[in-house]
């Protein structure tokens, strides 16, 4: 009896071990696939132009700092300026997008007013219009008013973000009892103050996750900036990277090019690395009441 039991449990243990090995193998492959491009980029950015022109190798090139120095001080592609511009646009639009989307969601969630449903449906309908379609009119308007090369023109339209609004509204529905708003009203708070001091802190996880998403998408945005920013000192990082493509590869220092790309994705990687916990928390927190 006991012998049969122990052999059975040993068999189960072996099975579990094999399953675990398979699972780790699978995860390992996925991780390798994801990391491959980053590792390649890192390796390439450490090589000199001549090393890159030569045979492909997986060795560390040893010219990393040199490439960094060259890229940072490049006269034609002013990457520090581009990063500052990108940061201004991405940070401001992330702040504006999340704040005003939360405000709109709060308004729709808490107040009863005429045409509320119609307004909600209208906002949702906007989600279906691709930005490229509305861009045509927007660009024309910007040119006619002479508003090109203004960074705030890239920031302000972020205020109307139906997707973020929808996320915020769903989140509010799951976390905000209306009694809390009423309690604050009776406590003497003004409506705007209730939003800022009571509601916004409760929405912190949702705000955090949407800030990250809008920061990243704004940082990576190429379409609108490329149409609106023409002056070199106003360019954002994605425009600068795109312009490298038109450079003459035979004359250009490719080590520098890889360094540009590395610098361009660095802030995004940092944001994800530092805030990944709150992303996970934010994505799941709206779903379960607790």
């Amino acid at each position: 009896m006991t012998i049969a039991n122990s052999s059975r449990s040993r068999k189960a243990k072996v099975q579990l071990f094999i399953l675990r090995v398979l699972a780790y193998l699978f995860i390992g492959i996925l991780v390798a696939m994801c990391l491959f491009f980053f590792i390649m980029l890192l390796l390439m950015s450490s090589k000199s132009n001549s090393q890159l022109q030569g045979a492909f190798s997986l060795k560390w090139g040893g010219h990393f700092l040199e490439n960094l120095h060259n890229a940072w001080n490049d006269a034609s592609t002013n990457i520090p300026r581009g990063m500052v511009n990108s940061f201004i646009v991405a940070m401001s639009s992330a702040l504006i997008t999340t704040y005003f989307s939360a405000l709109t969601a709060y308004g729709i969630h808490v107040y009863e007013f005429r045409f509320k449903r119609a307004i909600f449906t209208f906002i949702m309908a906007i989600m279906m219009i691709p930005s490229q379609v509305s861009a045509v009119g927007f660009i024309q308007l910007a040119y006619k008013f002479g508003l090109t090369n203004k960074l705030w023109l890239l920031i302000l339209p972020g205020m109307a973000a139906p997707v973020v609004f929808f996320y915020m509204k769903q989140y509010l529905e799951s976390v905000l009892p209306l009694e809390m708003v009423e309690a604050a009203r009776i406590d003497g708070s003004s409506e705007f103050r209730i939003f800022n001091e009571v509601v916004l802190p409760i929405m912190k996880p949702a705000v955090a996750v949407q800030m990250i998403f809008s920061f990243v998408s704004s940082w990576n945005n190429y379409f609108m900036p490329s149409l609106l920013l023409t002056k070199p000192e106003k360019r954002t990082v994605p425009i600068m990277i795109a312009m490298l493509r038109s450079a003459d590869y035979s004359k250009f220092d490719m080590g520098k090019v890889f360094m540009f790309i590395l610098l361009a994705i660095l802030p995004v990687m940092l944001v994800y690395a530092v805030l990944s916990k709150s992303i996970i928390k934010g994505v799941t927190s709206g779903s379960v009441k607790g």
Binding site: E179, E182, A183, R185, I186, D187, G188, S189
Partner: protein
């Protein structure tokens, strides 16, 4: 001084066409509520004078309009028609924050990101009170409610009872003119509810303000209120002291709603014999008490078929009287509840538990009652004929 006066208050929730067939409109059951062209009438003809420092309890079943009334006093619901005065000032269109009232909600509604101290200090902070004043008042209120030890904790780290204390603390910290409570004990378990009920009685002695308290629990209504307002389907049924409501319910609904187990009702005849009122029921005949005689005479009540109400504790086992058969016997400890069938109807009586097995089931008994404990209601209007 903080008197609250409600004059002919009415609340109508506009019905959106689409919702007409639904059971809920704005979260209020529309079961027996009147639906007019304007919408669902949640409260109507509500007039009440609340004296300074009085404890008023609004009680009634779900959807009777008690919470709506309270919310209108708080300013959280618009008053459709009628007038509301607090301290003689017309308040219909005044914002909640300018009414100088405080409210305790059923689900506490504490701010989850603030500590207990910050929760309690919030209203004072908005009033721009000095830091010393805030600190003094918060600690004073915390002392009264015995929550000083939790001041640095967040609401989620507290138990239900502690949270409710914080919610009360937040309300009393700025000494409001009136303290409104919307079923504050409903979320607590039975034992804690009893305890908190006693605490509210003690609290009242210490803070001495006007209370308006909403509950569906008649025990809370009876034990807490100076006066009870019994409501049903948006109408006031009776406004009186707990004793008065218990002893002289104004109609069948109040008689049935207040008191556990519920009052027993019999079909009976009200008779005049030698100038005295008698009730004849199931072969028994009982002369009403002198006090009731006077009230009925003053109303010139005629002989008629009536509904007779007698509370279970006032029905006694007798040698002769209303005949019934015991079907269920429940031992409650100090007493025993006997369920009887009398002429096809269920009747409950309470008898002292004798300590024995009390094998009543299946036995035929006769019931008697005293004329001072008989309530006679009109068959037509369901009103107590004494009124």
């Amino acid at each position: 001084m903080s008197e609250v006066k409600l004059v002919n208050i009415k609340k109508v929730y506009p019905v959106i066409e689409r919702n007409k067939n639904k059971k809920n409109v704005n979260g209020h059951r529309t079961g027996n509520l009147q639906i007019t062209d304007q919408g669902v009438v949640a409260v109507q003809e509500f007039s009440l004078d609340i004296a300074d420092k009085e404890f008023i309890v609004l009680v009634g079943p779900s959807g009777c309009g008690k919470s709506t009334t309270l919310r209108m006093v708080a300013g959280l619901e618009e008053i459709t028609s009628g007038e509301l005065y607090i301290d003689g000032e017309y308040m219909n269109d005044v914002a909640p924050k300018d009414r100088d009232i405080a409210m305790v909600f059923q689900n506490y509604a504490l701010y989850p990101h603030m500590t207990v101290y910050q929760n309690m200090a919030y209203s004072l902070k908005i009033q721009k009170a000095s830091r010393e004043e805030i600190d003094r008042k918060v600690r004073e209120a915390a002392e009264i409610l015995d929550i000083t030890d939790y001041l640095d904790r967040k609401p989620k780290e507290l138990s239900g009872g502690q949270r409710q204390r914080v919610a009360i603390g937040r309300a009393i910290v700025r000494h409001p003119k009136a303290l409104l409570m919307d079923e504050p004990l409903s979320n607590l378990d039975a034992k804690l509810r009893n305890q908190m009920r006693a605490e509210i009685i003690k609290l009242r002695e210490r803070i001495n303000t006007t209370f308006i308290y909403v509950t569906h629990d008649q025990t809370e209504a009876m034990t807490l209120g100076d006066r009870i307002v019994v409501m049903k389907d948006g109408y006031i049924q009776q406004i009186a002291t707990p004793q008065e409501v218990f002893d002289h319910p104004s109609n069948l609904f109040v008689a049935g709603f207040i008191g556990t187990p519920q009052m027993n009702f019999f079909d009976a005849e009200l008779k005049l014999r030698d100038g005295d009122y008698w009730v004849d029921v199931e072969g028994a005949s009982v002369r009403l008490a002198d006090e009731k005689q006077e009230r009925l005479k003053a109303n010139h009540v005629e002989e008629q078929a009536v509904t007779l109400g007698v509370r279970p504790e006032h029905l006694l086992l007798a040698d002769k009287g209303i005949a019934g058969r015991v079907t269920v016997s429940e031992l409650m400890g100090s007493s025993r509840h006997l369920h009887l069938t009398v002429d096809g109807k269920d009747v409950i009586i309470i008898v002292p538990s004798t300590g024995g097995t009390g094998n009543y089931i299946g036995s035929d008994v006769a019931l008697g009652f005293d004329g001072s404990n008989a309530h006679v209601f009109s068959k037509a209007t369901e009103k107590n004929l004494e009124y």
